[in-house]
Symmetry: C2
Subunit: 220 residues, 2 copies
């Protein structure tokens, strides 16, 4: 799992909660430098190894989203790392705007994929992907999830592919994942125009910077 | 938000994702010593301040659950910290087995509360609480959530109390929290006896140690 400054911590920790048990001691949190990496909500996660130390052959290569996404789309070292590990990874996965980083690495060209609603339809096509308005999208060995909390659904779906549905269902019960949000406001359609405007005001900069980063990659 | 060795990272990061925006720079991750604290799935979170450095007057005092719960129930320094801050905190909150730590500090005596399903009905009553099989339980200024992933629902419910439902609904849309678990297996009733047996095998030690820790506190 890639960590980077300005990642969304929940994008990482949601799937990590459901996948860590699959491979005790073999789930690596990878960053440019091992050590603390600050998320876009302020909580820092500890990277266990550096990009250079990351094993060459991975079962899953995972990229989270977050406010730091545009900087990663432009980061030659991160892009080279993702291209290299993706060549041999069994699964290539992302949550939220992490799919834009995969896309910037050319890893979603010709694939159906999803992302956070604030960028999905506008930015994914520029990166060669076909946007799909679903919670978790599988296309061959790519699996991408919608925004932030969709990482829980991706974690379960991926655990089922890796280890069978009984394993995933057991993990779901351990995590007591029987969600009951007190409001119905998780998509623009559910939330309505006023709440969507308020959310866009928070997300506008990320959406605009991601678009700019994607457009700059177009003539590659 | 209290951090401790063997906490469940998702118990912290779920609510943190929804509450961090309320009070930029004033959400403290508190542990015995500032620095990295390893969770029960291996990912470490960085505590920003020590117990001693934690502000005396808190809007919310939050305790996560996890495999490290029984040790915290027995930890005089942690219990004294919680009792002290709880006296003046506007809200006292927990996710998962975090409610057992609150209970061990005497903070749920006479309160309706919930916890992870593996300990809720058996251990909460020993600590003086009335167990309630709901996702998020409010009783006066206590708010407790069910296992692990219920922290997202608690985060939204608490954000609504602190800042109004429009604020919470906006946060829900930013986090795209429109959950769609690929299985229905988040409660023992949904999961059925076979999956519940497999989950209990994983949780048995935590449940037994929590029970032992609670029984040792009884003649206080």
């Amino acid at each position: 799992m890639l960590l980077y400054p300005g990642m969304t911590a929940l994008d990482v920790v949601g799937p990590q909660a459901l996948l860590a048990g699959l491979s005790a001691g073999n789930l690596h949190l990878v960053a440019k430098v091992a050590g603390a990496v600050e998320s876009d909500t302020g909580v820092s996660l500890l990277a266990t190894i550096s990009l250079a130390e990351c094993p060459r052959d991975l079962d899953v290569l995972f990229v989270p989203g977050g406010d730091g996404t545009p900087a990663q789309m432009r980061d030659a070292q991160v892009i080279a790392f993702l291209r290299d590990r993706a060549e041999r990874a069994a699964w290539i996965a992302s949550v939220c705007t992490g799919s834009l980083i995969l896309g910037a690495a050319g890893l979603l060209d010709g694939y159906r994929a999803t992302s956070h609603w604030c960028v999905r339809d506008r930015v994914l096509p520029i990166l060669g992907a076909e946007p799909v308005a679903e919670r978790v999208v599988f296309d061959r060995n790519r699996v991408t999830a919608a925004g932030v909390s969709a990482g829980l659904d991706l974690g379960l779906a991926l655990a089922a592919r890796l280890c069978g549905s009984d394993y995933a269902r057991t993990g779901q019960l351990v995590a007591e994942y029987a969600p009951r949000p007190p409001f119905r406001s998780g998509t623009p359609e559910e939330a309505g125009p006023e709440i969507t405007r308020a959310a866009r005001a928070i997300l506008d900069r990320l959406a605009a910077d991601s678009l700019t980063a994607a457009l700059a990659l177009r003539p590659r």
